[in-house]
Amino acid sequence: MTGETLYPRLEPLLAQIQKPIQYVGGELNAQVKPWESATVHWALMYPDAYEVGLPNQGLMILYEVLNERPDALAERTYAVWPDLAALMREHGVPQFTVDGHRSVRDFDLLGVSFATELGYTNLLEALDLAGVPLHAVDRDETHPVVVAGGHAAFNPEPVSDFVDCAVLGDGEQAVGDITDVVAAWKAQGRPGGREELLARLARVDGVYVPRFYAVSYGPDGAIAAVTRTRDDVPAKVGKRTVMDLDEWPYPKTPLVPLAESVHERMSVEIFRGCTRGCRFCQAGMITRPVRERTITGIGSMVEQGLKATGYEEVGLLSLSSADHSEIGQVAKELADRYEGTNTGLSLPSTRVDAFNVTLANELSRNGRRSGLTFAPEGGSERIRRVINKTVSKEDLVRTVTTAYANGWTQVKLYFMCGLPTETDDDVLEIAELAVEVIRAGREASGRKDIRCTVSIGGFVPKPHTPFQWAAQASAETIDHRLRALRQAINADRRIGRSIGLRYHDGKPGVIEGLLSRGDRRVGRVIERVWRDGGRFDGWSEHFSYERWVQAAAEELAPFGVDVDWYTTRERTEHEILPWDHLDSGLDKEWLWEDWQEALSEEEVADCRWTPCYDCGVCPTMGTEIQIGPTGRSLLPLTVV
């Protein structure tokens, strides 16, 4: 029988490993449905450690949406650390779900959410542990259909050998459609086997099945053509967009782990999409248009969620939370509602230009004012115009100074290094800015113990953004600029001791770049790295740059391309990009124009307030911007 629990076989292994709690399941609000009660069984994987994967909103949403269907069942699985993986191989225990401890091999579908490309080797490890053939072509109709989702799925070409399909865009409705297709195919006695199932899935809106598209390459190494191999699949696959977030109030009952996780709070997504137009930001480009949840929708999710979890903090989540059309009212009315209950509110992403002290005061009404985070991203005003995140130095300094004057003692500033057209001077301006911030902050607050932390990492150009054509800076360039920045910050010790510098070296970014803008040929590199022991590439203690570089050199040589070709090479206007047949709704000509405008340091306006339709998303996808204000307000909660 399938769907049997593996727990009795797993339990003796748990006594011998680190943090066994992450593998036992039983989290608050977790569900285990009887195997026979469902026709379609989904294993949902976050391809990283449990502590990172559990709080993932996307996975939690799909878990609930699927489990609400009487004919479906969804369980979760995460990447297994090497200590347990070794024991599982030794004792023949396969990759399991943490809910029912069922073998992933028994499920109809394995959905994998890729927030970052550095999870690819963990997918291969999970497939291997599960006893599922690594290559999609080697699977038969008894194997789960491997479905990729998440932002990285907008270019799934590097993992196209290993996944059966990819879902572009919002998953809430797509998983329902996929479930219907699988249920019907099973009810009909699985006609046509796996090939027919995949062909039916390829006709579902937003589902891309790589095997039905052939890629050929020209003598210069670039893609010559991408052609359909069946005429009943779309030439171009479009993304899914959920409209009216109030109709999708998920997660209703967020999972609460016993084990420690990276976010010890619950989150409510207050809007999806962003039209600020930051040119480096893949999330902002591929999730258009902006769709707000209403103030009353937010209020009831916060109320239900707190009741269901017992968390002390609620994060109001989005790509730029202070941009919600009713954010001031949302913050004030929530703070009123939870006054005196030791419940904290936070806005995880706030733009410098949208920050206002009234809002920040509401959020921390009676709590600690320890840290605030801003992301200017670029060091100089010039480079901020290039990336279209325009904020003047004066505004930046004024905002941060106001925060210090209002009792915050610690401000974190996020930057990127290696942006297109960047010079050493652009990066060195970060030091000037930080010095200025501390000087003005000390004066305004009258205290010496204020601190500013500069956090900086290398920029990686992403598909479906105006920078998709850009040359990525080499690891050497990044490391050189970071060294120069450190020296500049430390030049004046009296100020420098109040400034912290946190940075990531340039090497992991190069590999992320290879995987982000890679094509199908990169799949061989991923497989080779996994075979050589690569796992948990997002963790510095597991990541090996040398392993990736060597694998890439050997596996890519037969094709006449190399890592530089994928990363530091600038693309030309008409080069066929590996993801051109995947449609995020953005018009490629608009993206190119925006790229050209970036090079000439011209800004572009936010279409939220002045509808322009130039980027092409709304007309192509039949969507509209949905924003308030609604004019509604939160009613006080009734006292129980």
């Binding site: 608050l28 016993l258 979890t309 968390y311």
Partner: protein
């Protein structure tokens, strides 16, 4: 000039409740930190009117007494909470038990008896039951005897600062081998103290003196905690609070 929280200080503790709970099944793999987090969230979901410390990051008044190691189950874990509004201990027990995962059971809640002293002072000893799957009684019994007959049994213990040699023998007050369902069971009374001797350390000691090496990972359950008296029995740490309660109710009855 540091900011001060606005408004009045949090209400004081008006009642202390002492709680005994069990961790069972899968949750034996929970660490003390995991359980502490789960308990704090469950107290919120159960709407227990906790007393809080003052300051910008107020903490609920909870003190944990000892903690069974990760991987060990327990029928006798203890904590004490301070509440800002008087509560019926049994109502708190039911609400908290409902709010916790099924593998954590709240067994008893009593009001701290006035003048009965601290709970921590009433706990210095653990009673352990360790199931040893795949180990026959005929093998365990002589190993235990050999251990008890030794004056010193040095084992290497993993600590934060690497491996450290400790003597596992003096903390073990008594130990016996008994027949269980399909496996031998080691039953023992172990004094708490420094260095801490855990079931793992005693098993390492059995390996050292008698080369006893269980083929499967043993399963340890802490059955009781309390104060060891002169007769070698472990007293119920909540006994004095229960006694104070009865006395108090008796007084009310006469009014």
């Amino acid at each position: 000039m540091a900011r001060q929280p606005e408004g009045p200080p949090p209400p004081p503790t008006v009642q202390k409740l002492r709680i005994r709970y069990a961790k069972r099944g899968r949750l034996r793999f929970a660490s003390h930190r995991d359980l502490a987090r789960a308990l704090e969230r469950a107290l919120r979901r159960a709407q227990v009117p906790m007393a809080f410390s003052a300051g910008f990051s107020p903490h609920p008044k909870i003190s944990y007494i000892g903690a069974a190691p990760t991987g060990a189950a327990s029928e006798a874990e203890y904590l004490e909470i301070g509440v800002a509004i008087r509560c019926d201990p049994e109502a708190v027990r039911v609400a908290l038990d409902t709010a916790l995962p099924p593998d954590v059971a709240v067994l008893e809640v009593v009001e701290a008896g006035e003048g009965t002293g601290s709970l921590a002072d009433r706990i210095d000893t653990s009673v352990w039951r360790v199931e040893l799957p795949g180990v026959p009684l005929a093998e365990l019994a002589p190993a235990v005897e050999k251990f008890l007959a030794s004056d010193v049994v040095t084992v290497a213990k993993r600590t934060k600062n690497g491996l450290k040699d400790i003597d596992a023998r003096p903390s073990v007050v008594s130990a016996s081998a008994i027949e269980g369902a399909g496996c031998a069971i080691l039953h023992m009374v172990v004094r708490q103290g420094t260095p801490v001797v855990r079931p793992d350390d005693v098993l390492a000691a059995l390996a050292a003196v008698a080369d006893l090496r269980p083929p499967l990972p043993p399963r340890a359950v802490r059955e009781a905690q309390g104060r060891l008296d002169d007769t070698g029995t472990v007293a119920d740490p909540l006994g004095p609070d229960r006694a104070a309660r009865t006395r108090c109710q008796g007084e009310h009855a006469t009014v």
